[in-house]
C-alpha cells in the first residue's frame, strides 16, 4: 500500500478503532458495509482478514435504529399498529400479529373465527413472499443475477393479492386489536385459488435452476455450521434453528389461533449448514401453500372484527403479556407491560434476526470472505428488524 500522510489519520470511526485495538499484526481491517451490495439493508460487519480468511468479525448495528419501543410509549396501543408494518417489511403481518396478539392477551379480547382464518391466510402468504425475497437476495449474494427476477415475478403476484384487503404492498397495518381491518372479498379469494397451483408448478423450476446446480451446492454445503448448542446459547429460532435439526416451530410448540386445526409438517434438516437452512425454507414454502389451501376451505362466514372492538383511545388494562408468533425469520415476540394508563407502559419487541445475527461472529471465524457473505445470506437478515 502506498503510505501517504493524508491517509494515516483516517483510521476509521469509533467502532473500527475499538475493533482494531485487539487486531493482530499485519491483518487487514475491512468494513463490509454499511454501503455494501451484499448486506441486506444497512448492515455493517467489521472484519479482520488474514489474506482471504476471516480471523474475527463484529457486526455493527444502529444504522437503521428508529427506537420503535419509545414510539410505543408515546402512542396508544391501537395507534402503534402502523409501526409494526415498518419494523420488518419482509414479514410485516407476522409483526402485526405479534403485537396485536400481545395486546389481546393482556386485554383479554377474543377474535372472531373468520378473522383468525384471515390472519392465518394473509400471514402465510406474507411468509412465502418473505421467503421469495430471501431466496432472490441470497442468490444475488452468491453471484447469480437471474433467480431474483423469477422470485420477484412470483412475489409480485402475492403482493397484488395482499394489496386487495390491506391496501398497501409492503408495510401492512392490517390487523386490528380484536380482528382485521377488511374482509377478503371474492376477487381476492379467487386470486389466491389461482395462485396456489401456479406457484406449486413453479417450485420445480426453482429446484432445477438453483437447488440442484452443482456450483450453488458447492457454495452453500457445509459452510456456516451451527450446532444445536450454539442455537441455544444465542437464542436462534426459526429456519436457522430448524436447519440445525431443532424441531421447534411456535405454530406447533405454543399453538395459537387456529393452527392446531390445520395439518402441516415442520421441516427440519440435520445438515446444520447453510444448505440445511436453504432446504428448510424451500420446504416451508410448500407447507405454507398447504396451510393456505386448508384455511381457505375451513374459513367460516361471519364478521371480521369483534363487536365493540377497541377504539384507538382504548386503554390496555393493567398487567403484562408475552405473545410469540412464528415469523419467516423465527420467533417474533411482543412483551407488553401496561399500568392501565393511556399508553402502554413498556413494549419489548423480540426480533428473531437480532438473535440469529448475534451468532454470526462465532460461526464465521476462520471462513473465507465469500463464505461469510454466503453465511450472512443463509441467516435471512432484514436489518430494520434487527435495529428496530
Amino acid at each position: 500500500m502506498t503510505t501517504n500522510p493524508i491517509i494515516d489519520h483516517l483510521a476509521g470511526d469509533f467502532y473500527t478503532q475499538n475493533f482494531a485495538k485487539t487486531a493482530g499484526e499485519g491483518n487487514l481491517i475491512l468494513n463490509l458495509g454499511p454501503q455494501h451490495p451484499s448486506t441486506h439493508g444497512v448492515l455493517r460487519v467489521v472484519v479482520e482478514l488474514d489474506g482471504e480468511y476471516i480471523m474475527r468479525a463484529e457486526p455493527v448495528l444502529g444504522y437503521l435504529h428508529r427506537m420503535h419501543e419509545k414510539m410505543a410509549e408515546v402512542k396508544t396501543a391501537a395507534q402503534f399498529i402502523p409501526n409494526m408494518g415498518r419494523v420488518d417489511y419482509g414479514h410485516a403481518l407476522g409483526w402485526n400479529w405479534a403485537f396485536v396478539g400481545a395486546a389481546e392477551k393482556v386485554g383479554g379480547i377474543e377474535v372472531p373465527e373468520r378473522a383468525e382464518y384471515i390472519r392465518v391466510i394473509t400471514c402465510e402468504l406474507n411468509r412465502i413472499a418473505s421467503h421469495l425475497l430471501w431466496w432472490g437476495a441470497y442468490l444475488l449474494d452468491l453471484g447469480a443475477f437471474t433467480p431474483i427476477m423469477y422470485a420477484f415475478d412470483d412475489r409480485e403476484k402475492i403482493l397484488d393479492i395482499l394489496q386487495i384487503p390491506t391496501g398497501s404492498r409492503l408495510t401492512y397495518s392490517y390487523f386490528r386489536i380484536g380482528g382485521v381491518a377488511q374482509d377478503l372479498n371474492a376477487e381476492c379469494i379467487r386470486l389466491i385459488q389461482e395462485f396456489i397451483p401456479w406457484f406449486r408448478a413453479r417450485l420445480p423450476m426453482y429446484k432445477d435452476l438453483v437447488s440442484d446446480n452443482i456450483i450453488l451446492r458447492k457454495r452453500i454445503e457445509n459452510i456456516g455450521v451451527i450446532e444445536q448448542e450454539t442455537c441455544r446459547r444465542f437464542g436462534a429460532t426459526g429456519p436457522v434453528a430448524r436447519g440445525s435439526g431443532i424441531n421447534y416451530d411456535v405454530r406447533r410448540a405454543v399453538p395459537y389461533s387456529v393452527y392446531p386445526k390445520l395439518d402441516f409438517e415442520v421441516p427440519t434438516s440435520d445438515l446444520k449448514c447453510a444448505r440445511g437452512r436453504y432446504d428448510v425454507r424451500m420446504i416451508e414454502m410448500e407447507q405454507s401453500l398447504r396451510i393456505i389451501e386448508q384455511a381457505l376451505e375451513m374459513m367460516p362466514e361471519g364478521e371480521i372484527l369483534i363487536k365493540g372492538a377497541p377504539k384507538p383511545s382504548w386503554k390496555v388494562p393493567k398487567g403484562e403479556g408475552y405473545f410469540a408468533v412464528e415469523g419467516a425469520r423465527g420467533k417474533i415476540g411482543a412483551y407488553v407491560v401496561s399500568d392501565g394508563g393511556k399508553n402502554i407502559y413498556r413494549t419489548k419487541l423480540r426480533a428473531p434476526g437480532f438473535c440469529n445475527l448475534s451468532l454470526f461472529a462465532e460461526v464465521s471465524k476462520g471462513t473465507i470472505l465469500a463464505d461469510a457473505v454466503a453465511i450472512l445470506g443463509s441467516l435471512d437478515l432484514i436489518i430494520p428488524e434487527i435495529d428496530r
Binding site: M1, T2, N4, I6, I7, L28, L30, H36, P37, S38, L49, G51, E52, L139, L140, D141, L142, G143, A144, F145, T146, M149, Y150, D153, L209, V210, N213, I215, L216, K218, R219, I368, L369, A370, D371, V373
Partner: protein, 326 residues
C-alpha cells in the same frame, strides 16, 4: 520509392479494420449482453433509446467519456492511469492473426497461436496494477484474486491449444483452419472434444467471466479491482473484457469449429456466426450460474483441468506418432 510495398498497405488496412472492429464489437456486445440478460429475466432490456435500445451502448460510452476522472487520495498516479491503458492495448494486438476468411487476416504470421497466447498473459498485469494502485482494500483483494486466477487458467488453455496444434501440425491459425473440412464432422471438435471443453472453461476463467468472475465479484468486493475507476478508466476495462471475450471465442472457432469452413454461406460469415454463437453461450453462462468460491476455482483448475489437459495432450501425441508410422 514510388509504390508503397504491399505488405505495409496490408498491415495498415488490417490495423484500421481491427481498431474499428474492436470498438464496434464492444458496443454490439454491450447491447447483446443487456438484451439477452433482459430476455432471460423476462424483462425487455433497454428499449427507450433508439429502436429497441440500439443506441443505448452509444449513450453509455458517451456518458462514460463525459464522466469526471478522479483518483483516490493515496493512489499511485502513474500506475493508476497506466492500468486501463495496459488493459486495452495488448487486446488490439491479439486481433491481428485471427483468420476471418481464407487469406483474410490482418497479419499473416506463421506463429499466430504463440503470439496470441503470449500477449493474452499481459491482461492480468493490468488487473494487478489497477487493484494495487487504487489504494483500496477491495481493489487489493480483487487484484490478488485476479493474479492467482489468470496464472492458474493460463496453463490448461495452453495445453488444450497445443493438443490441437499437434493434430494440425502447425501453430499458424490459417494452417489449422485449412486442416479442417467444410462439414462439422471433420472439424477438430470431433477429434478433440475434451480439448474444446477444457479450452472453453479456461477461456471463461481467463477473461474473468461468468461463474469465475471473482476479481470483480460485486457481492463480495463491491467491484473488485475497478472499484475506484470512473469514467473512461472503467470504460476501458469494460471494453477490454469484451474484446478479450471476442479474441478467445474466435480462437476457439479457428481451432475447433473449422474457422471459415461451412457448407453454403461465404467464409467470413461462417466465422462471425460461429464466434457469436460462442459469445451467446458465454453470456448465457453469466446470467445462469452463481459465482464459484475462490478456492473451488483453483481446485477446478489444478485438480481437474490440468490433469485432463495433460492426459489429452499425451493421448494426442501418441496417436499422432502412431499415425506417422501407419
Amino acid at each position: 520509392m514510388s509504390a508503397i510495398p504491399a505488405e505495409l498497405l496490408h498491415i495498415i488496412i488490417g490495423l484500421v479494420a481491427v481498431a474499428a472492429s474492436v470498438g464496434l464489437i464492444g458496443l454490439v456486445m454491450v447491447w447483446v449482453e443487456r438484451k439477452v440478460a433482459g430476455h432471460i429475466q423476462r424483462r425487455p432490456g433497454p428499449y427507450e433509446v433508439g429502436p429497441s435500445g440500439v443506441l443505448q451502448p452509444l449513450c453509455d460510452a458517451l456518458k462514460l467519456v463525459g464522466k469526471q476522472l478522479f483518483m483516490p487520495t493515496g493512489a499511485d498516479p502513474i500506475l493508476f492511469w497506466l492500468a486501463p491503458v495496459l488493459a486495452f492495448l495488448p487486446v488490439l494486438l491479439l486481433f491481428l492473426p485471427l483468420p476471418v476468411g481464407d487469406g483474410l487476416m490482418a497479419l499473416d504470421v506463421n506463429l499466430g497461436l504463440l503470439l496470441i497466447l503470449a500477449f493474452s498473459g499481459l491482461a492480468v498485469l493490468s488487473v494487478l496494477l489497477a487493484g494495487w494502485a487504487s489504494n483500496n482494500k477491495y481493489g487489493l483483494l480483487g487484484a490478488a484474486r485476479a493474479v492467482a486466477q489468470s496464472v492458474a487458467y493460463e496453463i490448461p488453455l495452453l495445453l488444450s491449444v497445443l493438443a490441437v496444434s499437434f493434430v494440425a501440425g502447425s501453430l499458424d491459425l490459417a494452417q489449422v483452419v485449412k486442416g479442417q473440412g467444410t462439414w462439422p464432422w471433420n472439424w477438430n471438435i470431433m477429434t478433440q472434444p475434451l480439448a474444446f471443453i477444457i479450452y472453453f472453461v479456461s477461456a471463461l476463467g481467463e477473461t474473468n467471466r461468468a461463474p469465475f468472475d471473482l476479481p470483480e465479484a460485486e457481492s463480495e468486493l463491491t467491484a473488485g479491482f475497478h472499484t475506484e475507476y470512473s469514467g473512461m478508466g472503467f470504460g476501458m476495462f469494460f471494453l477490454a473484457e469484451y474484446a478479450n471475450m471476442v479474441v478467445v471465442c474466435s480462437v476457439a472457432t479457428a481451432l475447433f469449429l473449422g474457422g471459415w469452413h461451412g457448407p453454403v454461406l461465404p467464409g467470413p460469415l461462417w466465422f462471425v456466426l460461429k464466434v457469436s454463437a460462442l459469445m451467446l453461450l458465454m453470456v448465457f453462462a453469466r446470467w445462469t450460474y452463481p459465482r464459484v468460491r475462490f478456492d473451488q476455482l483453483l481446485v477446478i483448475n489444478w485438480k481437474w483441468l490440468l490433469p485432463l489437459a495433460v492426459a489429452n495432450l499425451l493421448l494426442t501425441a501418441f496417436f499422432v506418432k502412431l499415425a506417422q508410422f501407419a
